[in-house]
């Protein structure tokens, strides 16, 4: 299979009346891990939800393609079947729907009609992946995320990712609510999946996760735009120095860019 490519050009996203993402550019190639960092309230989760197509997040402008296909023309489920995956910050708890049943529907949806995984093979794969992630086999028959602890939910998201095998995985604050051991397990699962056939976009507030999943590119998101990009060393710098220096830098660049005698007109 060809290398994945996610292509985001001048994306603008509105939630109700407020524009949250204000002209965002991003390219993720297969095999690459990108991290998007930034202070709270800068639009990180909005970006994740908008990429997936949550109806509350309205894209008003820009381009968004995965492997050349226009995601903006697609409904949520079509994006998923095209290979986009979002590991959610707050996974839904759904009573009455068993984890395994749901996952089989999801895997088969992604495989496409006529290519469904046989039941036995599915269960073998599921058991193997659950073991890798240190998930109790009994969780397969439990209701989807119902009564799961924060950490269990996050592991379950990664389990889904491992089973569904997306082209591009977005991990939205996957590290929140995880203790260090769980974090290592999750990181290992993601690292094991790294291949030219999958790109990864990690959205995180802290640098902690990035010690275990080394990103190729780190981007700082502020006021709905990527204001700075760099290698994984940028993440370390942010961890040590915080975000204020980036804010200052942005402010001075914007001042320079402003027209002569500028300021607000």
């Amino acid at each position: 299979m060809a290398q994945t490519q996610l292509h985001v050009r001048d994306l603008r996203v509105r939630v109700e009346e407020t524009e949250i993402i204000r002209g965002l550019n991003l390219d993720v190639q297969g095999g690459e891990v990108h991290a998007i960092m930034g202070p709270n309230g800068t639009g990180k989760s909005t970006l994740a939800q908008a990429l997936m197509g949550h109806p509350r997040y309205v894209v008003t402008h820009g381009e968004l393609t995965l492997d050349g296909a226009d995601l903006l023309e697609m409904a949520v489920d079509e994006r998923a079947r095209a290979g986009l995956f979002l590991a959610m910050q707050y996974p839904a708890e759904i009573a009455g729907v068993s984890n395994a049943n749901f996952l089989r529907l999801a895997v088969n949806a992604r495989q496409g009609q006529g290519k469904e995984l046989p039941v036995l093979q599915f269960h073998r794969q599921l058991q193997a992946k659950m073991q890798d992630l240190g998930i109790d086999p009994a969780f397969a028959e439990r209701y989807l995320n119902e009564g799961f602890s924060g950490g269990e939910k996050k592991r379950n998201e990664i389990l889904q990712m491992a089973m569904i095998k997306p082209r591009l995985a977005i991990l939205d604050e996957i590290d929140s609510g995880l203790d260090i051991d769980a974090l290592k397990v999750v990181a290992k699962a993601v690292n094991d999946m790294r291949s030219p056939e999958m790109g990864v976009l990690i959205i995180t507030h802290y640098q902690r996760l990035l010690q275990y999943i080394k990103p190729d590119h780190v981007h700082v998101l502020m006021n709905g735009r990527i204001v700075k990009s760099g290698g994984h060393e940028l993440a370390e710098q942010l961890e040590q120095q915080g975000y204020d220096w980036v804010k200052d830098e942005v402010a001075s660049t914007e001042a320079e860019d402003a027209p002569q005698g500028g300021g607000e007109s």
């Binding site: 997936m52 197509g53 949550h54 109806p55 409904a75 949520v76 489920d77 994006r79 998923a80 079947r81 995956f85 979002l86 959610m88 996974p91 839904a92 759904i94 009573a95 009455g96 729907v97 049943n101 749901f102 529907l105 999801a106 949806a109 992604r110 209701y143 889904q160 569904i164």
Partner: protein, 427 residues
């Protein structure tokens, strides 16, 4: 055979003679009819029969249309029909029972036959729980009942296969009034599956009466499946009397489009008696369902659990009422109610009403109810994993029903309900 010039009293007397009914039943029918003529109209809070035709009560033509092949409510129960009574309108067209059960004294038969052959098994119980004096419609039921079935299980006999009674209705008017009497002697155990299905060319009306007597330590489970025609109007009264340590489980599953008023009551008379009242309703079209589940606690240390799930679409209306009635002296009672209703569109209506009528202090009661629509975030989550909107909705609806469906403990009921979800619910 029926002369239309005759009065209703004369016609009923003729039917009694034709069926060779004992004197007590002949008299009871006549008394009941007098009551019907004298009693005032029944009024309901959420229902009215004003716009629904109820008669005529005697046929003008004897010919009855057979039911179409595709009406197959019993499809998931055909693999085991060794103990079954099947009615086409008021006539029994199939009746089977296993010899080994008959030898143990188990009876599953038409009520009008049973009343002639085993009068002592019937007379002490008939009309005791649902006397004809209760209301006008039960008076009419008692006067007219025709498609009756009787199930009797002797002491300590445990029947492991489900007994089945099916009513198939094609005739219009108020001609068919099913009645069911179940007597489970001390320590007996039995499951009875009943199904009602109708396919009508004109409006039809039925009043049903179900009486269940569960003696000490007996366990009776009654599952009722409904797939009714929109032209059907149905009034159904079901009441169980539980002695010490008895258990009665009611399951009501309805995917019909009829105008139905349905009442289930368990009277927990003996100490330690237990009951569950479960309902799963998939009301579509212009269905109207007015359902009341009541647990009346009289004995000490009795338990009840009421559980309802409704999926209401199109212009359907569903009213689910749960009543825990706890009398003074019913110490140690435990009663829980959980009613959840989902509305699939703006024109559908649903109301859940919990009622606690408590005259005793030493009790534990709990109730939960919700009326709402499918959760958008749940839908998004499932669709974000590649499920189409329709797949995601069906999965959510299945999940919504599953606590009640799984509690039925019967594979055929489970399959029927999930079939209904696929075929009847428009998303």
């Amino acid at each position: 055979m029926i002369d239309s010039a005759k009065t209703l009293h004369e016609q009923i007397a003729m039917l009694s003679r034709f069926r060779i009914e004992p004197k007590w039943l002949r008299d009871l029918r006549q008394q009941a009819l007098t009551h019907y003529e004298q009693l005032p109209d029944v009024t309901w809070e959420k229902s009215s029969l004003q716009a629904r035709p109820t008669g005529p009560f005697f046929p003008t033509a004897m010919e009855q249309k057979p039911m179409s092949e595709h009406v197959d409510l019993d499809r998931h129960f055909r693999h085991d029909t060794r103990n079954l009574v099947l009615f086409d309108n008021e006539k029994i067209v199939e009746h089977r029972m296993q010899a080994h059960l008959a030898r143990k004294g188990v009876l599953l038969t038409g009520l009008s036959l049973a009343v002639r052959i085993f009068p002592k098994r019937i007379e002490p119980y008939f009309g005791q729980l649902l006397p004809h004096t209760t209301n006008k419609w039960l008076a009419l039921q008692t006067a007219l009942f025709n498609a009756g079935a009787f199930l009797y299980v002797p002491r300590h006999v445990k029947v492991s296969v489900p007994m089945q009674v099916w009513w198939r209705r094609t005739s219009g008017g108020g001609l068919v009034h099913p009645r069911l009497l179940v007597v489970a002697e001390e320590g007996a155990e039995v499951t009875l599956l009943t199904g009602e299905v109708s396919e009508l060319e004109e409006p039809a009306f039925s009043v049903l009466a179900t009486e269940v007597i569960a003696k000490q330590g007996a366990r009776v489970k009654i599952l009722s499946l409904q797939e009714q025609d929109p032209q059907m109007t149905r009034l159904s009264f079901a009441r169980a009397h539980l002695e010490k340590d008895a258990e009665v489980n009611w399951v009501y599953a309805d995917a019909g489009e009829s105008y139905s008023i349905q009442d289930f009551t368990s009277v927990l008379h003996g100490d330690g008696a237990r009951t569950t009242l479960d309902a799963v309703c998939l009301n579509q079209g212009r269905a109207h369902l007015d359902l009341t589940q009541t647990a009346a606690h009289i004995g000490r240390y009795t338990e009840s659990r009421m559980q309802g799930r409704g999926i209401v679409g199109d212009q359907a209306r569903a009213f689910l009422r749960s009543v825990s009635k706890i009398e003074k002296g019913a110490v140690g009672t435990s009663s829980t109610q959980e009613e959840r209703l989902l509305l699939l569109n703006k024109e559908a209506q649903a109301h859940a009403v919990p009622m606690l009528l408590i005259d005793e202090e030493d009790v534990s009661c709990d109730h939960a109810l919700s009326v709402g629509k499918l959760n958008d975030e749940h839908l998004f989550y499932l669709m974000a994993r590649g499920l189409t909107e329709a797949e995601a909705k069906r999965l959510l609806l299945r999940g919504f029903l599953s606590p009640v469906v799984e509690a039925t403990g019967m594979e055929g009921v489970r399959l029927t309900l999930y079939d209904w979800l696929e075929k009847k619910v428009k998303l």
